[in-house]
């Protein structure tokens, strides 16, 4: 990946002398720095960004959760339970005080359900009984990745008949924790798929625009300006309203990602165009052209590789926009429809002021949205700074 022309132009004596404000790590020896590849330099610059690393860890965790959603969720997310309507969240305790001393064992307190005889309002109070939990316990049966059947979960109650609600339950008594886990899978993956679509659009149109310039450039730029000036949400609403609600989930999912990515590509297109314009007359590109390399080869072998880090950074910053878009659409009832579960679908339950005043834990999916978006923004910011290790 190292581009000889780029490396030499970046290795001015100043970089070798490592000025105090250089954002490259000081512990890297000057001679090590001189031979480091571009990826190595990028990685060193990225490592200095603490928040970006935090973001990376959180995103990694969220994707792990979504890959293993069935396994992590202790219960079937669609199973209704009339006896657990608006069941409050239960804290997991670890230190168990029994007759024979302290033991380290996770448990929750069982909640008893009462109905006020006058108002018919339901309330829950701890009964004092303990429900013990264990790792890799048995719970609801599921088909892991649709491949093999099992009933082992990351954690479950020791007695499979007991229930516990880490994040409480919703108005139909469904376990919120399990629902949030399944929602994580859909919401986080919509960002990835949407970004993949806008990547294709953005690189193609931005690349053509920047490489050829002239009239094509002007047309594509007007197109981008036009798309940017459209108020996104009314347009999304109009597009999403065209979706028949009777469609199967996977079809809805695909169309929603398509709608969401319609806006994401413009930013990427601009970045790619700008870099192509700037790079078009760089020495290494001219050298390749004089060598008689085909245009295809110049673009894909010489120019795109030095863009990769910028593209990855822009992609990272585009994902949260898509997550937010899907959440907003589903929240309004125009995105994914139940029984599909996404963070937006879950938040739709919180739309009613009566339900949230009774069950504030319905906000929990919103917390996941905020954390995911923050993490992506931190990561993207760090990557954007690291993307050009030769700057400053």
């Amino acid at each position: 990946m190292t581009n000889p022309a780029e490396t030499t132009s970046g290795e001015t004596p100043e970089t070798n002398a490592l000025p105090a404000d250089s954002h490259l790590p000081v512990d890297a020896q000057p001679d090590k720095l001189a031979v480091a590849s571009q990826w190595q330099l990028t990685w060193w610059a990225f490592r200095k960004h603490k928040l970006a690393q935090l973001g990376l860890w959180i995103i990694g965790l969220l994707y792990l959760l979504s890959i293993f959603a069935e396994f992590v969720a202790p219960d079937d997310p669609t199973k209704q339970n009339r006896r657990a309507v608006f069941h409050p969240p239960q804290m997991i305790h670890f230190v168990d005080r029994t007759e024979d001393g302290l033991r380290l064992r996770p448990y929750v307190y069982e909640m008893d359900r009462q109905r006020d005889p006058d108002t018919l309002a339901i309330s829950y109070t701890p009964s004092g009984e303990k429900i013990y939990l264990r790792l890799f316990g048995r719970g609801a049966e599921y088909k892991f990745w649709g491949l093999w059947e099992t009933d082992i979960h990351l954690f479950a109650t020791v007695n499979p008949r007991d229930k516990f609600f880490l994040f409480g339950a919703d108005r139909l008594g469904r376990d919120m924790f399990s629902r949030v886990m399944y929602g994580t899978r859909i919401s986080m993956s919509i960002g990835l798929v949407g970004v993949a679509i806008s990547l294709v659009l953005g690189i193609t149109l931005g690349g053509i625009s920047g490489y050829y310039g002239g009239r094509i450039d002007a047309v594509i730029q007007r197109l981008i300006e036009f798309v940017l000036s459209l108020p996104t949400i009314p347009i999304w609403l109009a597009l999403a309203a065209a979706l028949p609600p009777s469609w199967p989930i996977y079809q809805q999912y695909f169309v929603i990602t398509l709608i969401v990515s319609l806006v994401g590509w413009t930013e990427l297109g601009r970045v790619v165009r700008g870099r192509f314009l700037a790079m078009k007359n760089d020495d290494f590109v001219i050298a390749a052209r004089l060598d008689g390399a085909s245009e295809r080869r110049i673009i894909f072998r010489h120019m795109l590789p030095s863009l990769t880090s910028h593209i990855i950074a822009s992609l990272t910053l585009a994902i949260p926009l898509m997550i937010l878009a899907e959440t907003g659409l589903s929240f309004l009832g125009l995105g994914l429809q139940p029984p599909a579960i996404s963070w937006g679908v879950l938040l739709k339950e919180a739309q009613n002021i009566l339900s949230i005043s009774q069950a504030p834990w319905l906000f929990i999916p919103g917390g996941f949205v905020v954390i995911a978006v923050l993490a992506f923004n931190f990561l993207g910011d760090g990557m954007r700074d690291a993307a050009d290790p030769y700057s400053h």
Binding site: S229, L230, P234, G366, V370, L374
Partner: protein, 328 residues
């Protein structure tokens, strides 16, 4: 010179608005079926059946039996004369339904824009001048969270706090007694009492990003030699700051109107639905769902035009304020 530039920009809007109208028309045509299908389905729910003859009759009356481009040109030529067509569902001219709501939407967007500037400007300056102070970190953290929180979630949380801790329903733009009252001073005061919540909800995202823009711009300026010169000549720190670097840093700030306004208009739609504000959003959503195409089309078109106008204003302001920007 400046007038020629403004004229040119305004002329540019014509093809732009044409494209917007095509997009709006295609969008409202996109759902399968038309208003009559929805209407018949609705009648079917209440066990009424429309015979084929009256369906054809209705279809001809609304012009739904003609090819798409004929429908489009009829729509656009009426639009140019200020006639937005009839709302099928409300059986009223669309213009009667649209203008008050669009007026409130515009008022909401501009109040939010003013709020955003009033908050973002001083905080941005503070956070650039006191870089890496505790205040700067607090502002930056809050800004990040503001950017990451979807508007509707913030609206819900504030409504929750309002209901649980203050026992007040904070939705809507007017108290019930002023809902249908004619405009008066009392109604205006009542509006102001309700307006702050949507303004805060809508403004957070834009405020957060504007603070970041202002901070970054000002940081670029603060280390330039002219600042040192002014300081060496003994200018007071405040006068120095306000007179030169802030003025220069303001330029990119002005050009943000171009993208802040579309965002506000967009965000206002969802927020309005959550807070049940009598603005364009909720009615547009309803019109889209019932395929009331002229009403929905008018909203999509007007909201898009609003953002185009916002861009025009920001471009003109930029030229007026910064002589270095070229008129091309």
């Amino acid at each position: 010179m400046i007038w020629r530039y403004i004229l040119k920009r305004i002329l540019w809007m014509v093809p732009f608005l044409f494209a917007v109208s095509v997009v709006a028309f295609l969008l409202i045509q996109a759902p399968p079926g038309d208003y009559l299908t929805t209407y018949i389905a609705k009648l079917g729910e209440s066990n009424e059946v429309l015979d084929q003859a009256s369906v054809d009759n209705l279809r001809a009356r609304f012009g739904l039996d003609q090819p798409l481009y004929v429908q489009y040109f009829k729509w656009v030529s009426n639009l140019v004369q200020g006639d937005f067509g009839m709302s099928f569902e409300w059986r009223q001219p669309v213009s009667d339904l649209v203008w008050e709501r669009m007026g409130l939407t515009m008022m909401l967007s501009f109040s939010t824009l003013l709020f955003t500037w009033a908050v973002a400007l001083p905080i941005g300056i503070f956070s650039a001048v006191r870089k890496y102070s505790i205040g700067d970190y607090v502002v930056t953290t809050l800004g990040f969270i503001g950017l990451a929180t979807p508007n509707f979630l913030l609206a819900l949380v504030l409504m929750y706090i309002g209901v649980v801790h203050f026992g007040a329903d904070v939705g809507g733009l007017f108290s019930s007694e002023y809902q249908n009252a004619p405009w008066s001073w009392a109604k205006f005061v009542d509006l102001m009492k309700h307006l702050w919540l949507p303004v805060v909800v809508l403004g957070t995202g834009a405020t957060a990003s504007l603070i970041r823009v202002m901070r970054a711009n000002l940081l670029d300026e603060l280390h330039k030699p002219y600042v040192d010169t002014a300081r060496a000549k003994g200018l007071s720190e405040f006068a120095l700051l306000m007179k030169y670097p802030v003025r220069v840093a303001l330029n990119p700030f002005i050009s943000t109107i171009g993208w802040v306004l579309p965002n506000l208009v967009s965000g206002a739609v969802v927020t309005a639905i959550v807070l049940s504000l009598p603005t364009a959003g909720p009615l547009m959503l309803q019109a889209l769902l019932s395929q009331d195409m002229y009403l929905a089309g008018a909203f999509v078109l007007l909201l898009s035009s609003l953002t185009v106008i916002g861009m025009l204003i920001s471009d003109i302001l930029l030229v007026l304020l910064d002589p270095r920007v070229r008129y091309d």
